[in-house]
Symmetry: C2
């Protein structure tokens, strides 16, 4: 298997981008990535998008996006695993390089969510749950994560304040990220007095509806060295795992086996443990998610995610910074783009280019991208090789 490096990254400021279409977003991120890489050699394109069909009446992005990027005829595919689609697109690009099918592979994540109403967007997102046994009966993702939050509070004593502190911390980071959709600072009181969505989760516990895209250019480590790329950022581990699509079929709704198993696989491949990781971007689709992911990754013991957050463990100046980009909460969550943008942030930190949110010790980073209520998870481990 050939070793793989990331030599280009691109995105744009995310938000409600009325003036940009699905294809505009994908092309803009890709062109920014090509400019960053300093090469436009592309042998293969993988596109992560959750639901162009439901959000835009547009499938077949693997034809449309290369075409509008000026790269028609290039081999391309769209991959989907709900909100983990972006991470999957990067894993697919990795396989293109590792297998020798391509020498340069572009991974794009994109979602254009504001072409439909909020209700239609929520319906679209709920197709990541089990349609026949969950969504059809009226529950959607705020409701599913509210069940987890309630159980977590009951079993571990996690508090309303601790949930709020996840949002406060991520908005503090997003405030330093020029690409964030909602960079505004947020107080614990503002989070706790925001409108109720699904008790105990309030509006400021939920990631937003976002238009956005991100892109990465991958090649072999050998080729990246030949191009003189320094620092050389490599993908040293990837883990992909799945679980029951329906939350009700898990033995314990406070465990996320897909996250645990994907992490084990990525750690094994990279020859590392969680103690070797300096920082992470994780899938904080709701505040409770970040807490449960911290526990599933082994950053803290089960039940300690809330207290650790309030104690500052995961802050920019904490021992294990999480979501330096602002996370899904502040940066935004164009679902298919999120997994790609998580890696964009880790590469930015590893390169030392994160400006006011730059970490002092960013040598090995991890991204955790998740679909549904934990029905799928993709984890990448990235590090500086030289």
């Amino acid at each position: 298997m050939r070793e793989v490096a990331i030599i280009g990254i691109g995105m744009m400021k995310w938000g409600e981008l009325w003036e940009k279409s699905l294809r505009d977003l994908a092309v803009e991120a890709a062109l920014n990535c090509i400019a960053d890489a300093g090469t436009d050699r592309i042998d293969s394109i993988s596109i992560g998008c959750m639901s162009g069909g439901l959000f835009n009446g547009q499938e077949h992005l693997a034809s449309m996006i290369p075409d509008y990027l000026g790269l028609k005829h290039t081999p391309a595919m769209r991959v989907e695993s709900a909100c983990a689609s972006g991470g999957l697109a990067v894993r697919t690009a990795y396989m293109e390089i590792a297998s020798g099918m391509a020498d340069y592979a572009l991974a794009i994540g994109v979602e254009k969510m504001t072409d439909v109403s909020g209700g239609e967007a929520t319906y679209g997102l709920a197709t990541a749950a089990d349609q026949d046994y969950e969504a059809f009966n009226g529950i959607n993702f705020p409701g599913l994560y509210a069940l987890m939050a309630t159980a977590h509070m009951h079993r571990y004593g996690t508090t309303r304040e601790q949930l709020a502190d996840v949002a406060v911390k991520n908005h503090r980071n997003g405030n330093l990220n020029p690409n964030a959709q909602f960079p505004a600072l947020m107080t614990r009181e503002q989070v706790m007095s925001s409108v109720m969505v699904a008790a105990p989760l309030r509006l400021m516990d939920c990631s937003p509806i976002t238009d956005g895209a991100a892109a990465l250019l991958l090649t072999t480590v050998e080729e990246a060295k030949r191009l003189g790329k320094h620092p050389l950022v490599v993908i040293s581990g990837i883990g992909l795992a799945t679980d029951t699509i329906a939350l009700c079929q898990r033995k314990d709704i406070l465990k996320m086996p897909a996250v645990e198993i994907a992490a084990q696989r990525a750690f094994k491949m990279a020859g590392k443990t969680i103690r070797d990781i300096n920082f992470a971007e994780v899938h904080d689709c709701f505040t409770i998610s970040e807490i449960m992911i911290m526990e599933s990754l082994g950053i803290v013991e089960p039940g300690q995610g809330g207290p650790a957050t309030s104690a500052g463990l995961t802050a920019l100046d904490g021992k294990f910074p999480i979501n330096t980009s602002g996370g899904l909460k502040s940066k935004g969550h164009p679902v298919g783009a999120t997994g790609v943008a998580q890696i964009y942030e880790v590469v930015t930190q590893l390169r030392g280019d994160a400006g006011k949110r730059q970490l002092a010790n960013a040598k090995v980073g991890l991204t955790q991208n998740m679909g549904g209520s934990g029905g799928s998870c993709v984890i990448h481990i990235l590090e500086v090789k030289s």
Copy 2:
């Protein structure tokens, strides 16, 4: 790059399968494949499906299908390129093996199209065209292929009878395939008197709306030998190419560059030319498609597809049999399953298991699976290694 073999195949009789859901279909095909392979070792699953979102309100198949197959936690992904989604799923499984990410990879193609009305299905399919510049203006696939058929008749003198002969031949083959949705024999007169859909294409020129699935199990050639698989069927070439999504943006609407280029790539990888191929399954979504694909693959010169069909070149007993399975026309076209089922048929022929439709000389076969009006194309070359 590791060499890849196909050691298991599975499908079921296709049709309007009211009693089977999306998940039932995928699981049934996968279990049939596992039974055929004689092993249930599966390290990775790739699922081709065009639009679970629009047809079933269900995305995130990469979580749901492994779960219902009893394989939760297995790495899985869904891939999509409109009607070429199935071929892409096989290519993805190939990469899993070739790269060393997996030793056993299951490729599933599935589509459940009859949960929605005919109008909704036609809308869903039209999302494979350019939504903003084609579908929004009212044209859909029968209309787009009707434009090609009209131009082909005008430039080359292709006749109404020649179009009909594609359908007659494919129904004659499908009549010998127990899995075909519409195995009824069809006369030229019946095709030519069927209801008009988009002039000059009539109902019997169009592939149907179908529920169905198919699955393949891939492993390394080394592992297949260890298991004593004989005959040993290998994938010796794969080609993937894209083109403009909108038909109106092609320089010549009677050329299919994605097909030509995908074929060149597959031939190069396999070290073969079209003259080394004994038979093919091609994407006859409309009768005109099969004629144009014959020309794009170089089986005949441009303009000769119609006359060659009427002269029997592509019949079961012809020099270059095409769509021995009955093709999309007679076997049915559950869009995400088609590309996988094409390979199912080629493997069946290569193994000598095709019963009454068995070819005498089936050593090297080709599959051509296409998205939209030719915006994407995946080609596989398969052969018996021992």
